[in-house]
């Protein structure tokens, strides 16, 4: 250990850590913070009531350090006043942040944590301090600083049961207060920390790539080359860094509101903060994390895979990327004001245009409009690339499945996103210049936004999951050393999902008051989605048949994806059944379902893609041991988070709510064990977040020092494996494009474009290029 201390780098790190600890603000969590009032020492029984007013007399105006004060603890109100049993009147619990509390007589006892309570073994004891409504205690002031008292008093009706009893809580502050932990402050500090770490990593990478030639003068030219690049690989990397960064931020939002939900009745976040946090979690994860990560992977791999030198429109590609950080800054400037959008990621009107919605919603809408523009531009670019730049010999039906999945995904996005864009512009106008598109009193339709949003929103959720289908197809086929089973049915299934996505969106609105005919029709169409999805899952399984599955990290992720995605698909089958959806809509069952599909589908697929293509992109192999550790920890903790949510949802726990209610005498609600499940989910959420840091560490350390990667480390067949690792720029020589070798299919008519293929060719590429130029 001491030898390690001599290492200058270790010393520098420790110094920085010590400095950080020294300057970090002294913060302290509320005693009522994580575990809630019931568990923090107050065994209060009955229900909270504002009638019970705790009082604490004898506090000085100014604290004399070390002085001992005698305090009177008392309360008024509640059933004690009319209680016939003088032996059971009430109880109290007093906690203080500084100084020492001591009992003055045998009516009061000390708890191990220094707090005081009335004497008595069980909550329904009589006598022994329960027969009082006034207790006298001593408090010795601390040597410096102020103090905060938290007092609970319980007013009892003396019938020996909890029912009818009431308790109240009061806080008293003296002198200078230590800062309390606030969710927003935690978030801001964490974001700042992430920005600093990201910038630090960039500088470190700059240094490490050539330590001998390190000079600060070269830093800016090196960086600006990245920032101004139109090369698809560099733009892809930028997209990816952007996506990973916001994956972290989105995770932070989730961690903070999971603390709030860890126990019922928690007050870690205010309702305003909580509402912003779940809104920003959804928005960040879908629009600023998942979409850029997919775009990043598509940017990197598609031109390599279809044998093109670059994307068709490189400058537009860079523009599409740079709209993303701009949008993120717009959206997050709302967060920085502390008044971020609180509309949910769906931003339902009329709430979003009502005066009760936060002012940050305007910035949220503005940022989303930029993202719509970005997606539209990226869509044009990719479709053009697919239509015109496939390598010689590669017809539509010879594209690798990852390319197919990106093609179908951008097509869906391109067709659906205008509806969202229109809705956003209307909301922006409503919020800024006072138009009345969504003002119901002025004749606005309360369902218009829902229709526009879900017409986009449902294809959108397939937009983010379909690319993962492509990744898994490529990864599983290469790992199993088998051609993907049923290539054509895979393509048709993806296309089928793409078409169905536009006619099923009504299933988000089964309880909205939409026309029952439309509800019924979307119930039928939604059920149909199971068919193409089933084909894909069974084809993947059959791909392994007769193969020789090589277990690599990406293989594990692909198998993990099959498990979680299948579970997410099965739970999805419960929603189109309207009678069941009436119960399940907006419960945690929905939350569990879409996280199984988004995280277990999209994100696990992306992870498989990272482990699969990282050697190609950087020329370095990722560390397999760390990869396997990442898989095992992330897969376990992911299921620990989301599996119990199915149960909680069916029991009636609602999403987007600041708290949840346990069954009491007064009404039936969640069973008591729901609190334990929620605590477990919160703990698992922290572990899941931490386990993904393994991936980030692995990418940085292996990217700089990993073993050199060969051109085709996994033995794949598609064209990206014909280039060197990392690939040259331009990715394929435009004057000498690779030719897809179809020699195994010489007598195969399908190698020629079929009828549909010919029609698409005719629509998208003019037969005679000269005619166009005239």
């Amino acid at each position: 250990m001491f030898r390690a201390l001599k290492n200058p780098r270790t010393l520098a790190l420790l110094t920085i850590l010590l400095l950080a600890v020294a300057i970090a603000p002294a913060a302290q969590s509320l005693p009522t913070g994580i575990s809630g009032v019931e568990q923090s020492g107050c065994n209060c029984h009955g229900s909270v009531s504002s009638d019970v007013i705790p009082t604490l007399e004898g506090l000085p105006d100014e604290i004399v350090p070390g002085e001992t004060y005698t305090l009177n603890v008392s309360f008024t109100g509640g059933p004690s006043g009319t209680n016939a049993d003088p032996n059971a009147l009430g109880g109290f619990h007093l906690w203080v942040s500084a100084g020492t509390l001591a009992p003055t007589d045998d009516k009061v006892k000390s708890n191990p944590d220094g707090s005081l309570t009335h004497y008595g073994e069980s909550e329904f004891d009589v006598g022994q301090g329960n027969d009082q409504t006034l207790w006298v205690v001593n408090w010795t002031a601390p040597e410096s600083g102020g103090a905060k008292f938290i007092l609970h008093t319980n007013s009892v009706n003396g019938d020996g049961t909890e029912s009818g009893d009431m308790y109240g809580k009061a806080t008293f502050k003296l002198g200078e207060q230590e800062e309390e932990v606030r969710g927003l402050v935690v978030l801001m500090s964490a974001i700042l920390l992430m920005v600093v770490i990201t910038l630090g990593c960039i500088v470190w990478i700059f240094y490490r790539r050539d330590p001998d030639a390190f000079a600060w003068e070269r830093f800016w030219p090196w960086l600006s080359e990245w920032l101004t690049s139109t090369d698809h690989k560099r733009v892809g990397t930028l997209y990816f860094i952007n996506g990973l960064f916001f994956l972290g931020i989105g995770g932070l939002f989730a961690l903070i509101f999971r603390i709030q939900l860890a126990s019922p009745g928690n007050d870690f976040l205010t309702v305003e903060e909580y509402n912003q946090f779940f809104t920003m979690h959804g928005t960040t994860m879908i629009f600023l994390a998942a979409m850029p990560m997919i775009a990043g992977l598509a940017n990197w791999i598609v031109p390599l895979q279809i044998g093109a030198a670059d994307l068709a429109l490189p400058r537009l590609n860079a523009l599409a990327f740079w709209l993303n950080p701009a949008a993120a800054i717009l959206i997050f400037s709302g967060v920085m004001t502390g008044d971020a959008a609180d509309t949910g990621w769906t931003g339902y009107a009329p709430y979003v245009v009502s005066h009760t919605a936060h002012s940050g919603a305007t910035l949220w809408v503005a940022g989303q409009i930029l993202l719509v523009a970005s997606s539209t531009i990226a869509g044009i670019n990719f479709m053009t690339t697919f239509a015109t730049m496939r390598a010689p010999g590669m017809g539509w039906m010879q594209m690798p499945l990852f390319s197919w999945s990106i093609f179908i995904s951008v097509l869906m996005l391109f067709i659906s996103i205008p509806a969202f864009g229109i809705g956003l512009v209307q909301v922006l106008l409503d919020r800024t210049i006072g138009t009345v598109f969504y003002e119901v009193a002025a004749g606005g339709d309360p369902l218009l936004w829902s229709h526009l949003f879900w017409y986009f929103g449902h294809p959108e959720v397939y937009v983010v999951v379909v690319p993962s289908f492509g990744i898994i197809s490529d990864v599983l086929s290469t790992s199993a050393r088998r051609t993907i089973f049923g290539y054509k049915s895979m393509v048709y299934a993806m296309a089928g999902i793409g078409i169905l996505s536009f006619i099923v969106y009504g299933h988000h609105m089964f309880t909205s008051g939409m026309d029952p005919t439309l509800r019924f029709v979307t119930m039928l169409t939604t059920m149909l989605v199971a068919v193409p999805t089933g084909i894909k899952v069974f084809n993947w399984l059959q791909t392994m048949h007769g193969g020789s599955l090589v277990y690599r990290t990406h293989t594990l992720w692909a198998l993990g994806f099959l498990v979680t995605f299948t579970l997410g698909g099965i739970s999805g089958m419960y929603f189109p059944s309207i009678a069941m959806d009436l119960h399940l809509h907006e419960t945690y069952f929905v939350v569990a379902h879409f996280h199984y599909v988004f995280v277990g589908g999209t994100v696990f697929g992306l992870f498989a893609g990272i482990y699969y293509w990282f050697p190609k992109a950087t020329g370095r192999m990722l560390n397999e041991k760390l990869g396997i550790l990442h898989f095992i920890t992330a897969f376990t903790t992911f299921n620990m988070i989301f599996w119990p949510m199915h149960r909680l949802g069916i029991q009636g726990m609602m999403r987007r709510q600041h708290t949840y209610f346990l069954t009491t005498d007064a009404y039936g609600a969640l069973p008591p064990e729901a609190a334990d499940w929620n605590m477990m989910i919160t703990v698992a959420a922290f572990l899941f977040f931490a386990s993904n840091l393994i991936l980030v560490y692995n990418m940085i350390s292996s990217g700089l020092r990993g073993a050199k990667a060969p051109a085709d480390p996994w033995g794949g067949w598609s064209l990206e494996w014909t280039t060197s690792s990392p690939p040259p720029t331009p990715s394929h020589d435009p004057n000498n494009l690779p030719v897809l070798d179809m020699s195994l299919h010489e007598h195969d008519e399908d190698a020629e474009p079929g009828f549909i293929g010919r029609m698409i060719e005719r629509m998208m590429i003019p037969a005679e290029t000269e005619e166009v130029s005239k």
Partner: protein
């Protein structure tokens, strides 16, 4: 009292059985194939002779592909069929139903009993976790039609233990139909399930069913 109501649990049990069947088939298949067809010594046995730049040999079997198109299709036709039946019950008024108007506003519920007897419909205050809320008392065995609307933004009353919810939209009247049974005598929580702003999570009420 478990949440969800009779209709929900009938459907759920049926769907759950099919989920288990599908899940067991898929995961057994996956476990078998991923272990049976693994590379025994970790060496690369290039079964289909993948070569970079060469479109690989075909691997398909139209009969198998049709099998797992048609069988799932039959299953979902069946599931659609059994989902179809309860729609009548969900979307239509029971005989002898009386109307109760529920109006949502940020962030409280307003129950309007009209001129119904106190035995059929009565609204009294109740304490829910320290906040004063409304309690709606209903009679078991009586059919009710709830007519929903909203004063400001979208809300949605959710009768947790009965498993029904419907949005209360401003400028629109929507409906919900239910007949509480004698098994449901007791107190139930009513939550708001369409996000409506700050106090959304506390926009509760208590529904009490008496004999």
């Amino acid at each position: 009292m478990r949440a969800g109501g009779v209709l929900f649990w009938e459907m759920f049990d049926e769907f759950f059985m099919w989920s288990i069947i599908v899940g067991v088939i898929t995961f057994a298949w996956m476990a078998h194939h991923s272990l049976r067809y693994r590379s025994k010594d970790g060496s690369d046995d290039n079964v289909d002779n993948f070569t970079p730049g060469v479109f690989p040999a075909e691997n398909d079997d139209i009969r198998l592909e049709l099998t797992w198109t048609i069988i799932p299709f039959i299953l979902i036709v069946y599931l659609t069929y059994i989902s179809w039946g309860p729609l009548d019950e969900v979307w239509s008024e029971d005989e002898g139903a009386v109307d109760i108007r529920i109006t949502g506003s940020q962030w409280s519920w307003d129950f309007d009993c009209g001129d119904l007897d106190a035995d059929l419909c009565e609204v009294t205050p109740i304490d829910v976790e320290g906040k004063s809320k409304k309690k709606l008392s209903l009679k078991a065995g009586q059919a009710y039609t709830f007519i929903l609307t909203s004063d400001d933004v979208t809300h949605a009353p959710f009768f947790v233990d009965w498993g029904i919810k419907e949005d209360a939209q401003p400028g629109l009247e929507t409906g919900m139909y239910y007949t509480p049974s004698t098994d449901e005598i007791g107190s139930h929580l009513l939550l708001c399930t369409e996000y409506c702003g700050s106090e959304h999570g506390y926009m509760t009420a208590v529904i009490e069913v008496h004999a």
